[in-house]
Symmetry: none
């Protein structure tokens, strides 16, 4: 068991409230005003802080959104073994759709916007935001292989892509609604193709 050692740093300690209010401000702006209104300055202003303080904690606007999303996502992502593989995936899919449809959807979109323009940041998005979620599903799928519910030579990366890509595709393009019904039927069809 690790003992969290207290390292007394000189000077004034960092204000955790500042961090929280910045994350909240970022989400509030992107949700209310859309991506156009999300300038670093606007975030700082809304959080009642200043740009330098903001840059002390994060290297870019994108990383703020990333942290804000991780705050919300982290506890949600998990599989409580339900009845069957397909039901678990459906449950997870509905969960994801709910997240992307809600106020955090715009943040997701903004994170991809930044990532597309900045490769190292996209790597971070993969590692911290997308990767963990994929891994949860991967673990569930590996369990399914163990249980002979899935062929043992299944390309899990491809399957996970097939399962979730359409969600982000609809989030990004907006050509079709992103509903739980779509999630359910899409997951059914996809899994039928892989079993």
């Amino acid at each position: 068991m690790e003992v969290q050692s207290y390292t007394p740093t000189p000077g004034r300690p960092r204000d955790q409230m500042v961090k929280a209010s910045i994350l909240a401000a970022a989400i509030a702006i992107i949700d209310e005003e859309g991506p156009a209104g999300l300038s670093v300055d606007a975030i700082a202003k809304r959080a009642g802080t200043s740009r330098p303080t903001l840059y002390r904690w994060w290297r870019s606007k994108g990383e703020i959104l990333l942290d804000a999303l991780l705050d919300v996502t982290s506890e949600q992502v998990s599989y409580d073994h339900h009845i069957s593989l397909i039901d678990d995936l459906k449950f997870h899919g509905r969960d994801y759709v709910a997240l992307l449809s809600g106020p955090y959807g715009a943040a997701y979109r903004a994170v991809f916007t930044d990532g597309l323009a900045d490769a190292p940041f996209m790597a971070l998005v993969r590692t911290r935001l997308i990767g963990p979620r994929r891994n949860v599903t991967k673990t569930r799928l590996e369990a399914a292989i163990m249980a002979n519910e899935l062929p043992c030579d299944t390309d899990l990366e491809a399957l996970i892509d097939a399962l979730y890509a359409p969600f982000l595709y609809r989030l990004i393009l907006g050509h079709q609604p992103l509903s739980s019904e779509f999630s359910d039927t899409h997951i059914e069809h996809t899994m039928k193709g892989y079993i």
Copy 2:
């Protein structure tokens, strides 16, 4: 048979060379220097023209890329009935993958970047770039329904999403390579789920 009537517009006619060189410059920059180097000024400079000329014909950087992509895409998209539905889709998939992997892949990414930050522009992307390509596939799938190769109640929009979303997903995220092998197996699995 249609007779092309000549409509002489008053004033100096638009220089088609300028248009072409701007489209070429945009693609060259995004391919060579990445999205960071793609400023309106850089495009104008490389094309040997000026910013005002550029804004005379396009409202934004994004629309330039859109036009550049349409120049390339337009003739490519078509289905020459091959042997079977699955082979046709595979052929088309490989074609798409080749486009996204080549020098135009970066332009595709940039178009999505701009679209994510600007909803009206994303609508344009849907209408002009994504829509036509989807429609070609839709026509092929409808023919398949006619030929009883596919259930008549198939949700074509969902199927098309399932087919192509992973391509753009990999293009955008870059977590896995976008290869013809992936295209083939992905399309096989997907269609298996829908038949």
Copy 3:
């Protein structure tokens, strides 16, 4: 007496109407909209012509105004020997004040604006606009010297400056009204100092 030889040039002859309508347009714009609205394009548009045509006749906006002013000024400037030197000068002064106060005052101001930014053009203004008017006065003053109404060693350039500079000063600065009363008393005082 000179015989104006007719030199038939090939091609379509210049349309004098165009010239007239451009001069009128320039004066109309500067009078109605002020100097800010006086772009080359605005003149051409208002005159119902095009920029290239305009540049065929004049080298710059300033030269248009110059010509417009000369059209008006040319016949006005003259001394009909009245009663005395002082009365002639007063008459001339009132005439000048009337010109500068009317719709052509703004054109005068604009001519100086252009001249201040473009030395060769200011030389033209001196030669064509200011010079002739000064010469008329100079001639009158030289006659006065002949008539012993003025010392023969009078510095005429300095005297003419003293007489008219305040008019342009008030036109340009606008700190005090440019009235006939001012003209009269100013000319009286000035001549008193030189006699």
Copy 4:
């Protein structure tokens, strides 16, 4: 005796060096390259600063020149009672001529150029640049009236115009040199007319 209270404004204080270098740059450019070279960008570049910084403190090129001129002018303008009214005015006249003939003459011209094209700015020129200098002379003339050296009903505004208009006239038109000799004789003649 006044106690200068220190009012600490929040945030980083304005860099006075930047202000000084911008003013110096403006004067240097107009003097060396003439009015054509005086773009906002050129000033910023020469001052080693940026356009936004420049616009933070001045609304236009003209206001920069105005400040630059005020820096120089402010201490110069004063009358140390010399011997007589006429000598004081001559002294002041030579001072003015020296200013207009030197490197600041071009700045003066540019200020008028801008003022002619922008009435509100010309009002500023009157209030800040021309007015104070006129007032100094006005005070001296009022003292002269008190001392019975001048009629008590003298129109001081008109007299001041008569005294100084020819200086600016020659500065602007450039038809005659602006020398101390001219200043002396002109002031003598003018005052002779008003006494």
